[in-house]
Symmetry: C2
Subunit: 280 residues, 2 copies
């Protein structure tokens, strides 16, 4: 764990980030954690094939020059008390939550010693990354499941308690690819104090200790801010009916753009990035 007492950074990835070749997002994470000196822990709890998934990331992080990588493939709650895992988390510079099924991840990890350790180490400086299910699970209220290609209907999104590392943010992933805008809108309408962040594949946002997020990758980050909505019908209509609302603020950000969580201000990059980006 870094000597710094500040909270570690958080990297939420929309899934399908490059795991061979350039690997811009994973490389960013390795560099953030110290490059050649980085000690990383991979947690493949969410995955239906945890062993294969751990091995894939172990290989990728080694190729990117990480100094030390250990992989844990938890399949039972009791394994979250494994002293080897707890020790590895204490010493790590970064922890990485793989994709899979976020409800599997939280039912296996929620309320365990390893979860408490992860939170505690993150507050003391551990950098934390999650992709796909691992990104969704970072929210306090997470999207567990939902419908694609839907209007904003209450029935289009199933939320459950997440790991709570991102308290007033709801993360969605595979966002443009699986047409999940409706369900993220519905999630924010349920309580307009929540900020909705939808990540495309091969796209990430990094949240620093300064409460600012910055976008990395080839796709977009969709920001849904409901704090100024004037009205919504969602609370009083049938679950399957599309909800009406007025006054939602919407931003779509690409690599280099940022967002200040405290003020709600969008931050343009100092130098415009010259890549073909935006799918939206």
């Amino acid at each position: 764990m870094p000597a710094s007492r500040a909270r570690g950074s958080l990297l939420a990835i929309g899934g399908h980030e490059e795991r061979r070749g350039e690997m811009r997002i994973l490389e960013h994470f390795v560099q953030r954690c110290g490059g050649g000196a980085a000690r990383l822990v991979v947690l493949s709890t969410a995955s239906p094939t945890p062993q294969e998934r751990s091995a894939e990331y172990e290989t990728a992080f080694r190729e990117l020059g990480a100094g030390h990588v250990s992989a844990f493939h938890q399949t039972r709650r009791a394994e979250a008390a494994d002293p080897g895992l707890l020790r590895a988390l204490e010493r790590a510079d970064g922890a990485f939550l793989t994709g899979g099924n976020q409800l599997k991840l939280v039912t296996l990890l929620g309320g365990t010693i390893a979860e408490a350790k992860l939170r505690q180490c993150h507050h003391a400086g551990l950098h934390l990354a999650g992709t796909s299910a691992g990104a969704s699970a970072l929210s306090a209220v997470m999207i567990a499941r939902g419908r694609a290609r839907s209007s904003a209907r209450l029935s289009s999104v199933r939320m459950t308690p997440g790991l709570g590392i991102l308290p007033r943010i709801i993360v969605d992933q595979h966002f443009r690819e699986r047409d999940r805008f409706g369900r993220l809108l519905a999630a924010v309408l349920c309580n307009p104090s929540m900020l909705g962040l939808g990540l495309d594949e091969d796209t990430a946002f990094e949240l620093g200790a300064d409460d600012r997020i910055r976008v990395i990758g080839s796709g977009t980050l969709t920001v849904v801010d409901g704090t100024e909505i004037e009205a919504t019908s969602l609370g009083t209509i049938p679950e399957d009916a599309p909800a009406a609302f007025a006054g939602m603020r919407l931003h779509v950000l690409t690599e280099g753009w940022g967002y200040d969580l405290a003020s709600g201000a969008v931050e343009r990059p100092a130098v415009e990035v010259q890549r073909p980006a935006a799918l939206v």
Copy 2:
């Protein structure tokens, strides 16, 4: 607002508390807020008939001797910026959230100035009470809707982001009367770090600044503690299938019993209360 800088107490009520006659639970709230000196604010945002509901509580609190009662019946988000409401909250000793529809309450109040003020005043000493929908909405992850008489199925409970005043607790109400045990179990299984608290009608728990809760009223409080479960199938089975699990801790408490949120210990009353209680 009291001079004290400690967080105010929280009173969550399972609905249908007496509003005429003895009114033990409402009387407890008035006394907690200072009795004859108490300044109370009633918020009937959740109610489908906000004006009638506000008037009912105004009458009850006056009968119980509260010094000053003001009632607000919010029907639009913009009304949450009403300077009269904000000033009343600042001066109040207690605020009371009525029943109705918790999703209506949160879609109208979430992310508004009044919500921020409520949270801020509560942290500075404002006592807060909510009944039925007003109790559910106190959770960070609230049960918005669900099925009665169900096994613990993911599909039996719809959770959405609540007001977040009770961060790691999920409150359910009308608990025994509407047979809601299955849906509360499902909510806790989704993330075993959550504590499930099911309140019968005319029953309340009060949470003090010492993180202890105490039961008041004629029914029971059901406590569902998942932190020691060994396994659950909920994360990997179809939404409509009943979930299996092993090792849930369960307590059912009646008037005078308590529970320490930090240690998870049940606290027996100093003197056993002599009332016919427990419906379970």
